[in-house]
Symmetry: C2
Subunit: 319 residues, 2 copies
């Protein structure tokens, strides 16, 4: 049994292309080849814990991921997110590896899904990226977009202005040309690829600001209560894509738009169908597209297996 | 974060009295102080995985246990059971310890529950112990009974006669006087403390053989389909005890007896109530008592915390 620490994971990641691994997970999921039981949840006084687990049929492994959020942790000098990934043999149940990623791979696999959505749904030539939010996911999403989009011009907006300035400075240091948007309306006027990554419970993007050629990836809403995008935006979209249709029926932006009668179930495609080529992605630069990402265990499976295999290869090469 | 291997666990266990730790868990559970969400389950082609998790309010930790059964494993020279225990801080969500117990502590905490049931429910003077089954649990239950019962005379019976002879020899080597019973009827005629630990789907103990003064602990049935004890035995019992009433309503011997209209819900007491002294246990040597143990996450919590704390103490003492 191999224990892989966060330091080792971070050493491996720069050379690892996670997009194919997680694309394969989405394809398997949409093809009905993934077994992902309902998420386990433990609510505590100071935080919450989610257990996501499952496997892809005919694969070698199954994965159990534990991810926690303890929101007072920053008061103790600790990150609020934490967690680990466990990799087991599908044939014998033996524990193959423990990835002590401290929640890092959960942030990363979410950003990889955003990059995949952009790869298939953003206009061919992105002129400006819009980022709504200023936290870890706002950083990770933008960094990961470099793998699929040439554009380095960014307009950023966040409710938290101090965090937003820090975000701008950090992302400039990473080679982006970042400006702060006065509001999301002006962002929607200038950006054609917008990623929302906030815990908002009332919409931050308004349908009135929508214009042809925009793609929006909504990452923040993963509960029945959160909502970043006005439901009418989904109503106006030419293509609505869920990471998991089953999950988006009960949480996230699609859930809100269905409830508001802005869309119908048959309007929704699944990301894995588009990756597989069974459903067309964006077909013109004038289309409005939206991807609603609520997070699926196949992402955890894909990233865990990819990191484990890369770590073993790297260890071998050092012998 | 501390990793504790099976070797270290086995080194600690002889000096560790697990009964108080697991009794405290049952008491907390029956007092409504334990948070134990539904068990997570992952079914694979070659096996199954269960995720049990929870915590006791006001405690320092929460525990996630992963236990698997892969039934072809012996063909590859591997044990069919496997697993690990994860201990986290209830305050911060940080991973405190990984107990790589390979399923060993699950077997053990089940046996400790059997000893606790015997402590409160067996007649004061046990003349002969009956063991139904010849597997790991048949061994662990008998070994653990030494802590609560003086009797070393054993009658053993199992469907698998080869395993049964091996069992007899192994348990004689552990200091018991073991004879093989020709059938469970003769066991019930001579034994006053009987533990059933088989995966039987049709009852092995018959109500016709029941006599005053017997205590039965049924350990094997943990699904809606398994049944070791004829439902009428519960109907004839003076005291019926569940480790978890909620769980015994949907699986195990109590579920079968309720379904057969042999007992009513109000006939059932909970082990934690008896340990706490809120409900009397056995009050005379003539009573017939039965405990139905389906396994509760508080046992996992109790054993994980106890083993972790003992391991840390032992490591300290070695410095």
């Amino acid at each position: 049994m191999k224990i892989i620490t966060l330091d080792e994971i971070k050493e491996i990641l720069p050379d690892l292309d996670l997009i194919p691994a997680i694309e394969a997970g989405f394809v398997a999921y949409s093809a009905g080849q993934a077994v992902v039981p309902p998420v386990g949840e433990l609510l505590l006084e100071e935080g919450e814990v989610h257990i996501k687990y499952g496997y892809i049929r005919q694969d070698d492994y199954y994965v159990i991921k534990i991810a926690s959020g303890f929101y007072d942790n920053p008061n103790f000098g600790l990150p609020s997110s934490n967690g680990l990934m466990l990799l087991f043999s599908q044939k014998t149940g033996q524990l193959v590896s423990i990835l002590l990623d401290e929640g890092y791979l959960t942030d990363l696999r979410t950003a990889v899904a955003g990059a995949i959505a952009a790869k298939y749904l953003a206009p061919q030539s992105v002129k400006c990226i819009g980022i709504v939010g200023s936290g870890i996911q706002a950083r990770q999403q933008l960094m990961m977009l470099r793998q699929v989009v040439d554009c380095r011009k960014v307009l950023a907006w966040s409710l938290d202005k101090d965090h937003l300035e820090l975000y701008r400075d950090d992302m400039i240091a990473q080679g982006f040309q970042v400006q702060i948007a006065p509001d999301t309306g002006s962002m929607m006027a200038r950006c054609d690829l917008i990623v929302t990554c906030t815990p908002a419970a009332t919409p931050l993007l308004a349908a009135a600001d929508l214009r042809p050629g925009i793609h929006i990836t909504a990452v923040g809403s993963d509960t029945p209560h959160k909502q970043e995008v006005e439901a009418a935006i989904l109503g106006d979209a030419d293509l609505i894509v869920a990471d998991s249709i089953a999950q988006c029926l009960v949480r996230g932006e699609i859930f809100q738009a269905l409830r508001a009668n802005q869309i119908d179930l048959e309007d929704i495609s699944e990301l894995g169908q588009i990756i597989a080529g069974n459903v067309p992605g964006r077909t013109s630069d004038q289309q409005i597209t939206i991807a609603d990402l609520t997070g699926v265990a196949v992402q955890d499976i894909g990233i865990t297996v990819a990191v484990y295999e890369a770590a073993m290869k790297k260890r071998q090469s050092k012998i």
